[in-house]
Amino acid sequence: MKKFSSLLHNLILTPSRNTKIKLLQDYFKILDINRAYALAILSDQLSFQFIKASKLRELVYEQVDQHLFDYSYDYVGDLAETISLIWPTNKEGKSQNLSTLIENIKKIKKSEINKEFSKVLSELSNNERWTLIKICTGGLRIGVSERLVKMALADLYNKSVNEIEEIWHGLEFPYENLFQWLKNEKSKPKIDFKKLFHPMMLANPIDEEKDFKRLDANEFQAEYKWDGIRVQLMVSSNSVSLYSRTGDNISSAFPEIIETTKGDAVIDGELLVGGNFKPSGFNDLQQRLNRKKASKELQKKFPVFIRAYDILFYKGKDLRKLSLVERRKYLEKFQKENTTNQIDLSTIINFSTWEALTKYKNNFYDDLNEGVMIKLKNSEYLPGRKKGYWYKWKKNPKLVDAILMYAQRGHGKRSSYYSDFTFGVWEENELVPIGKAYSGYTDKELLVLDKFIRNNTTNKFGPVREVKKEIILEVAFDDVFPSNRHKSGVAMRFPRIHRIRWDKPINEVLSIKEFKKEFKID
């Protein structure tokens, strides 16, 4: 555990990618069972059923005064780090094996969690405790992607990272077959590709200035970009399953898709809410997300369908090495053979100049599409976010000027800065908050805002600071909906700080009435 936690400690503090790879390789060179746990942890595949963030808070409140913990958490901005530092005992020395420790924790009975897991935490050093809590809460956020781990392994054993990528989702703890293959002791693990979630091909944002000069419009085609959730649908004669972008099986939440789909294929598409293939906005889709099951009533009120973009397998045949245009033919064939009310095809937009594409990006479906996807016609289906094949070109965001009202310290890399901003518009002579944003600003702007907040606090509500009403923020957002959960009656989708409007006096900011009128909210 000591070795693994100092690996994580060093990884989080090392800015250099090469040094990170080297640190990982030095660790993986050691040939023991710890290595398998390390791989599971680094790729976020290990979790403990009974120990989540809320349980950890419960445990720490048993150890230290709740208010003192809250003050500290507000300051540190990271749960694992706060708990590890504030935990009253700190025994350096007697260190357990990573694998033994994890196996022992897995054996703890639910009824004894509080006592037993607290005991485990008390027997670790600060850094080990931090590591263990990070493992429990998942998502290490140490600046190491799954991809980087695969690269380190590939490079260490002279394999190609794509080969690892291909079999990755078919591997299982403790990855014996993977390590044996890496060390050339056995051949590449055999994976049943039909049952396997295939990592999706993702797009990069287009850089209008650079890319449009560089790229030939004739080599590309476009599709509308839809604001739903990206899914992979696996259909075979005996089963249908639906996966989210991260490979989670979400079949049970969308029974109407599972029940109606026929054929033999792996389809890539967007899950949307709406009847008759007319999408009705993300707000409606949210009613169907994060649910384990969907009642008949819910299915009727918020019907879902899949807009298919691509096809990876057709009748057992791997199409991923074919060009996009070739794959499209198979997709159309699949659709013709298995027509249902739950799947339609994404429309292809042909164009000859980038200029001509602009109108599709901005206007065509009015508010319902988010922009366009630009795809190289002869692109293979490549996992991950490879450069040069697929691009996304988002609509220009909506903009509004609003007044900074409250601020809170951020988390993660922005911890300790006042980086979460609540802003509002006028309602009579008072301000009413319309949203909260914690991104979009430059590092320099953040420093300016942070300083302003520290020097102009007029009131404190726990961790929230109210500030002098002086700063106008130009806020960009993707969309705005009516909402009865907020005082203002509106909820923004993905608001972010576009810039600070030093030039504008605060009395020129809109009223909530004017705001609703401008963005067509009744």
Partner: protein, 329 residues
């Protein structure tokens, strides 16, 4: 205790403690820039603090200086002032103010732990305690500085082709790091940023063991491989640091307790070495001072005020203008 206001100003006799702006009479607890300023008429402080002020701001940085020994009483009308060691940096002092049998102590910045570079902290019993709270949260529990300095020495041994640049405040922390290295038998010459030179010379003159040191010069890049260089934190991000071969950026500070902080500042080797008291030391000092009235300033007041109230002590935060937040030396 109502004779002193929230700006640490005693109106009856027109005396300030650590004022930000030029004043008639200023008692200065120590030489850091957020406490010792240029331009007062009359400065009262330890001799070492006065020396340091003269090094930093010139001989004429005040019109008149009154040096006090630790424990020596100085009276203005019916107020008696006595300075006691604060253990923060060379020359640092707490101020005891006595009036009509009421004893008030202003700790200034202080640390309880051992330090060879200055006189160690002396606990002074009092009725009212005005304490700093730079590390006033229970997450701050400073480790043994010897273990931290060993991390640096080990890293220097392992990474022979790199140089280690240690960020440390020019006054106090830099010399403490040098002294800690010497205590751990690191006998190599230590290289320093130009802005540290005069202060290091002064520490040497005051017989603090910081060993051999030399200002960084425009030598061949490879010369600094395997060496330790000490520089003020501001220089770490500056072009200055790029002249060195594969630098490993280190920082000696109590803030380094929090990994996310270290990461934000691009620190690869954090060294938790603090010249302030940690949480337990703050609580201990409050308890042992026997004070019933606790005023809290400089830093994370909220948690400490909450704690004191729970102990049935009268407590409130004292917000001193211009010292709102964390960028304290």
């Amino acid at each position: 205790m109502d004779f002193i206001n929230h700006q640490l100003f005693i109106k009856d006799i027109n005396v300030h403690i650590d004022p930000i702006l030029p004043k008639k009479t200023a008692i200065i607890t120590h030489g850091h820039a957020d406490h010792a300023r240029f331009g007062h008429d009359h400065v009262i402080a330890t001799k070492q603090t006065i020396d340091i002020m003269k090094i930093r701001y010139g001989d004429k940085c005040a019109k008149k200086f009154t040096p006090l020994r630790y424990g020596q009483k100085y009276s203005i009308k019916n107020f008696d002032f006595t300075l006691y060691p604060a253990g923060h940096i060379l020359g640092s002092a707490q101020v005891l103010i006595e009036k009509n049998n009421h004893r008030l102590v202003i700790t200034g910045d202080y640390k309880v732990g051992k330090d060879e570079t200055c006189k160690n902290f002396k606990l002074v019993k009092c009725d009212t305690l005005i304490t700093e709270a730079t590390f006033g949260l229970p997450i701050f529990q400073h480790p043994d500085p010897k273990d931290e300095i060993q991390k640096l020495i080990r890293s220097v041994k392992i990474n022979k082709n790199n140089c280690h640049i240690v960020g440390a405040y020019a006054l106090g922390k830099a010399q403490r790091v040098m002294n800690l290295l010497r205590q751990q038998k690191y006998d190599e010459r230590i290289y320093i940023h130009g802005s540290l030179e005069k202060l290091c010379q002064y520490y040497s003159k005051e017989k603090i063991n910081i060993g051999k040191f030399e200002k960084v010069s425009s030598k061949d890049k490879s010369f600094y491989e395997g060496k330790i260089i000490i520089a003020p934190p501001s220089a770490l991000k500056d072009r200055w640091s790029r002249r060195f071969p594969n630098p490993i950026i280190c920082m000696a500070s109590g803030w380094m307790t929090v990994k996310q902080r270290a990461k934000q500042q691009g620190i690869e080797l954090p060294l938790v070495i603090s010249d302030h008291s940690d949480w337990n030391e703050l609580l201990d000092t409050i308890k042992k001072s026997k004070a019933k009235n606790i005023l809290i300033t400089h830093g994370q007041e909220d948690a400490l005020v909450y704690y004191c109230k729970k102990q049935n002590l009268v407590s409130k935060p004292l917000s001193i203008q211009g010292r709102n937040d964390e960028e304290i030396e």
